[in-house]
């Protein structure tokens, strides 16, 4: 048993919880009872509906007279045929008096085409169309068979091919896979609900009740308090999860939750493993909600944050319902999502020890991060005293820092919507517009949002004339980075392979362009526009609000994010770091422009050139590596050799 102050704290928390009826109801009773009932009822409804659809009799309007075919159709199950004139077919459909219309070819028509007319978005039309098609197909083969024999064909027309499928999965496995789809999703949502109810109450609720201050006045380390709350919230969530797991497994086992009522036996070992995996997950969710609870100023405010966090948890939970996303590569370290996918695999009978270890380890890492944040937040004065922290956008250092981050987030969002839309309309025009119009416009918007006092434009975007050394260094560096970046991307493809379709459209577009057009669009435009916005406006603001290092990191981050692709993130991020560092070092934007231009240009030109020419040396050989290294070092030397610079435009307000 845990002794000492931690034990005391934990016991107190549990004691309080035990006596809180509402909490008990929401965390223990509701998920355990609610989900099986609701899901089961839903399944019933769906099942009944499907059965209804199958068993129903549908009205089909038919026009045309083709003795043979008419006979075939008459034999189709569950259909009421209404003979109408060809002109009335559409009318019947439009009036809703028929689910489908069939236009038979007239006996003397030159081409025999049977038209099935209907609104295929309606399930009744689909069902009927399927039945009619099947009937017609069988009839066709019958006719052909007769004809074949009549012409003296040997044996039958039907190829003597006996096709069968054999399923090696046991009922347990396939049941588990089926169950796994929904089970993981439900467990995740249950854990979340419990973690949020408990977590919100434990800090924000205590603050509201006025007991938090008293607690902090005791001779206790706040880390201890945070830990105790984490244990209790996580433990409570886990308990709920376990109860839910039991209740859901039983429901699956008795067939209540299956659509057709079939019992799905779940492997107890798999269930035990899932239960074990729930532990780190429960603790992580608890840590996140405690973080939220500590940050909020009041219980009411904390409640407001529940929905966004819930939506964030919902996405991986939802995606775990499909087996398409596999727990490999980068996915194994994505918080919450990784555990969800692994649980799904376990239930489908495919536990992979190595993956599980990585997943658990990374989850523990995330927990440590979140827990530390909880402690930090609890040490703030505002948490205890409940007085208002400065407004979000206050004209203070912190406020301005937040303002620019929000502005950057809005920029990326704006780009996400408008840029994507533009590029979907026209790849070339859209890209050009996005770079030359959209990005600068968003930068201007940021400038407005993060007012402060307006510095001169040239200062703001560091448009000073650069030193020749720096320009040369940038060019050299740009050239030298090409091969390493290509190597990096190949390395990345090992654990984060990109689908072919990702770059297909862009690739096709670029193919059609002449070299100069391509150069202008894919080298010059990004070099100018992206530098102006990211290393000019944004970097400038970030440097004014914080340290240079953080400014470089954040500007690179947003720069990478705006390319809106997880596959391009890492290379773009690294490039962004280099570009930002160049601007800081050289105190001018131009070297970065040159670097960017050189880099992009080399890639484009090099790729085109290599199509028609042989490379003088192997691009992945030692010569190439040495050359690249040499260029990088030379470029860096040219840039760095300049004496220690005066700090960022600090003289600006």
């Amino acid at each position: 048993m845990i002794t000492g102050p931690l034990g005391t704290l934990i016991r107190k928390e549990f004691a309080e919880l035990r006596r809180d009826r509402r909490v008990l109801l929401l965390t223990l009773v509701l998920p355990v009872v609610l989900y099986p009932v609701v899901i089961g009822a839903m399944n019933r409804v769906q099942h009944d509906h499907s059965a209804e659809v199958e068993a129903a009799r549908y009205t089909v309007a038919v026009a045309g007279d083709h003795g043979e075919l008419t006979g075939v159709l008459a034999g189709v199950d569950g259909i009421r045929w209404r003979n109408v004139a060809p002109d009335s077919l559409r009318a019947m459909l439009d009036a809703g008096r028929a689910s489908l219309a069939v236009r038979l070819p007239d006996a003397d028509a030159p081409v025999d085409t049977v038209r099935l007319i209907g609104r295929m978005t309606s399930s009744s039309a689909q069902v009927v169309a399927d039945r009619v098609e099947t009937a017609l197909e069988s009839a066709r083969w019958r006719v052909l068979e007769q004809e074949y024999r009549a012409r003296g064909g040997e044996g039958g027309l039907d190829a003597p091919l006996d096709l069968d499928t054999r399923d090696v999965s046991t009922a347990r496995e396939s049941g588990g896979a089926e169950a796994g789809r929904l089970l993981v999703y439900l467990l995740l949502m249950t854990l979340f609900m419990a973690a949020s109810t408990l977590g919100i109450d434990m800090i924000a609720g205590e603050k509201e009740r006025g007991t938090l201050e008293t607690l902090f006045l005791a001779p206790l380390d706040r880390t201890l308090v945070a830990r105790a709350k984490l244990v209790v919230a996580g433990g409570g969530a886990l308990l709920t999860g376990l109860l839910s797991l039991v209740s859901l497994s039983l429901s699956y086992g008795t067939g209540w939750l299956a659509e057709d009522g079939a019992a799905a036996a779940l492997d107890p070992a798999a269930l035990a493993l899932v239960a074990a995996l729930m532990l780190p997950l429960a603790v992580l969710l608890a840590a996140v909600m405690l973080m939220v609870s500590a940050w909020a100023r009041s219980l009411k405010e904390a409640q407001y944050y529940v929905l966004p966090v819930m939506l964030t948890v919902f996405v991986p939970a939802f995606l775990s319902m499909s087996q398409a996303i596999e727990a490999t590569g980068v996915v194994t370290v994505l918080p919450i999502a990784n555990v969800a996918f692994v649980m799904r695999d376990v239930l489908a009978g495919r536990p992979d020890a190595a993956t599980m270890v990585i997943v658990v380890a990374s989850t523990l890492g995330w927990i440590a991060l979140a827990a530390r944040q909880v402690t930090t937040l609890m040490e703030r004065e505002e948490t205890v005293l409940g007085f208002d922290p400065e407004p979000f956008f206050a004209p203070t250092e912190g406020g301005r820092r937040r303002a620019i981050q929000v502005a950057l987030a809005l920029t990326v969002t704006g780009f996400f919507y408008v840029g994507q839309w533009l590029q979907s309309r026209s790849p070339v025009g859209g890209l050009a517009l996005s770079l030359w119009v959209l990005l600068p416009a968003l930068a201007l918007l940021t400038e407005r949002l993060v007012r402060g006092r307006r510095p001169r434009w040239t200062e703001a975007v560091a448009l000073r004339s650069p030193a020749p050394r720096h320009v040369l260094g940038a060019m050299t560096l740009g050239l030298g980075l090409v091969l390493p970046m290509i190597g990096l991307q190949q390395l990345q493809a090992v654990f984060l392979p990109a689908p072919a379709s990702q770059f297909e459209l862009l690739g096709q577009t670029f193919e059609r362009m002449s070299l100069w057009q391509l150069f202008a669009l894919a080298a010059v435009s990004p070099a100018v526009c992206e530098e102006f916005v990211f290393r000019g406006v944004f970097l400038g603001h970030l440097r004014r609000q914080g340290s240079d290092r953080r400014a470089i990191l954040w500007s690179a981050f947003w720069f990478a994010l705006i390319h809106l692709s997880v596959f391009r993130f890492l290379p773009t991020f690294l490039l962004g770091l280099v570009l930002a560092a160049v601007v800081v070092r050289s105190r001018s934007l131009w070297p970065a422009v040159v670097l960017h231009l050189t880099y992009n240009g080399s890639l484009l030109l090099g790729e085109r050139w290599l199509r028609t020419h042989e490379a003088p040396f192997a691009l992945d050989g030692p010569v190439a590596a040495a050359a690249a290294l040499g260029l990088v070092l030379a470029g860096a030397a040219l840039l760095v050799r300049w004496p220690r610079l005066r700090p960022a435009p600090a003289e600006l307000p």
Binding site: R22, L157, L161, K300, E301, G349, A500
Partner: protein, 432 residues
């Protein structure tokens, strides 16, 4: 004069409403919920989701699904499978090529578990052998694995295609070709437009989500406007102003409905834009278009508005006695859950909006939304729904008004809604 007093009441209620909205606008949390969540969160989540799907595709392409094919399998089958970029065929072990029959489940598993580099990690196996009467083919797979199911489907399709070509060859051997081989063609004339398909897609996703959002907006507004007054100690001040309690209630109701509808509309727009973009990015060639039928949308909005009034009044009623925020929450959570989950049911029922659906509260609104998103507004069910909603709204507002007039609402420490409603009928008579 009745008219002027009604106008006066309305004006008084509007004043209360204006103040509530003014206060709400300055509530950072509300702004966050209403604006930031749809604006920033949805795109972020969608982006993350899309990237995950892309990653899945990339992984699938990098490691194509392997189908083992035994030596007797005809080349056309093998070729067809290889033509699919996500599949790859490999020769099955010798031992099965020579046998008649397909491996048993245990043999299949053993082979897979052995992890033989020669065969790789395969998902399905096509076993082919000839008997005197003809050929037999078995596709062995594992139905618990999605990849295996896909492999099975492709393999089966390839085998069938081969069988079809065999039949065609036989037919050709006796001169049955061309039109003779195809005595008739079956053509499907799909009358549904891209817009209809788009509407169908929307109606599968949005109504449930929207029914989740609506009580969210109502929940916090109702709590804030009723319990908030109590916590701040301003209730007494308000009721000692010349306004009647009904007028105060009306003003506050207006505010809660406004908050609720704003949440709904903003989330609706946000989700719509998002679905549009997700489809553009993930399925650029899909033959669907997202278009909304204005008339139907207006009808849907009217229904949602009425529902909002009913739910708002209900929530305000339930929270009337709460002494603090937590109690209020406890009282409202069941309502929230009921409204939110009702959307689930309607999502899975019959796809056309029927009168029987129209009779059930909450379900009818979801079904109406589904229908409206597809551009349809069948008259009778819509009218039934609207009438029902009006009735509910009137009842709940009346009850809420009665409650508010009860002095115990504000002052009694042991106030209970149930007790208040039953014997308080007489007490409220004559109270302004």
């Amino acid at each position: 004069m009745a008219e002027s007093s009604f106008a006066r009441s309305l004006r008084a209620a509007l004043r209360v409403l204006r103040k509530e909205i003014l206060e709400a606008r300055r509530d950072r949390n509300l702004v966050l919920q209403l604006v930031i969540v749809p604006l920033l969160l949805y795109p972020t989540l969608a982006f993350v989701g899309i990237q995950l799907v892309m990653m899945a595709r990339g992984a699938a392409e990098k490691e194509p699904t392997v189908v083992l094919v035994d030596a007797d399998t005809p080349d056309p089958v093998r070729d067809e499978l290889d033509a699919d970029s996500t599949l790859r065929t490999r020769p099955a072990p010798e031992i099965w090529s020579t046998l008649d029959g397909a491996p048993s489940a245990e043999e299949f598993r053993t082979l897979r578990a052995a992890g033989d580099p020669e065969f790789g990690a395969f998902e399905a196996l096509v076993a082919w052998w000839s008997t005197g009467a003809g050929d037999s083919a078995v596709v062995v797979h594992d139905a618990s694995r999605e990849r295996s199911q896909v492999a099975r489907d492709r393999a089966t399709a390839a085998v069938r295609a081969h069988a079809d070509s065999l039949r065609a060859a036989r037919a050709a051997s006796v001169g049955l070709t061309g039109d003779a081989f195809r005595p008739w063609a079956v053509v499907i004339d799909d009358l549904s437009t891209a817009a209809e398909r788009g509407g169908r897609a929307l109606s599968m996703i949005l109504p449930f989500l929207l029914m989740l959002m609506l009580p969210q907006g109502t929940f916090y507004a109702a709590l804030d406007t009723i319990v908030g007054e109590r916590e701040r100690g301003t209730w007494e001040t308000v009721i000692t102003s010349p306004l009647s309690r009904a007028e105060v209630l009306l003003g506050k109701l207006g505010y809660v409905v406004t908050a609720s509808m704003s949440t709904f509309v903003l989330n609706f727009t946000g989700l719509l834009v998002l679905v549009f973009f997700a489809l553009e990015i993930l399925l650029p060639d899909a033959p669907i278009a997202l278009r909304l039928e204005p008339g139907a949308i207006v009808v849907a909005l009217v229904a949602v508005l009425l529902l909002s009034v009913a739910v708002s009044a209900l929530m305000m009623m339930l929270v009337a006695g709460a002494r603090n925020y937590r109690e209020g929450q406890a009282a409202l959570t069941p309502v929230y859950l009921i409204v939110a989950f009702s959307g689930l049911f309607a999502q899975f029922g019959a796809e056309t909006f029927t009168v029987s659906q129209a009779a059930v509260p909450l379900v009818n609104v979801t079904a109406l939304l589904r229908s409206a998103l597809q551009g349809e507004t069948p008259l009778v069910p819509v009218v039934v729904t609207l009438l029902e909603l009006v009735a509910l709204a009137v009842v709940f507002v009346a009850v809420a008004a009665r409650l508010v007039r009860d002095e115990n609402v504000l002052f009694a420490p042991d106030f209970s809604v149930r007790r208040a409603l039953l014997p308080s009928f007489a007490r409220s008579a004559g109270k302004d």
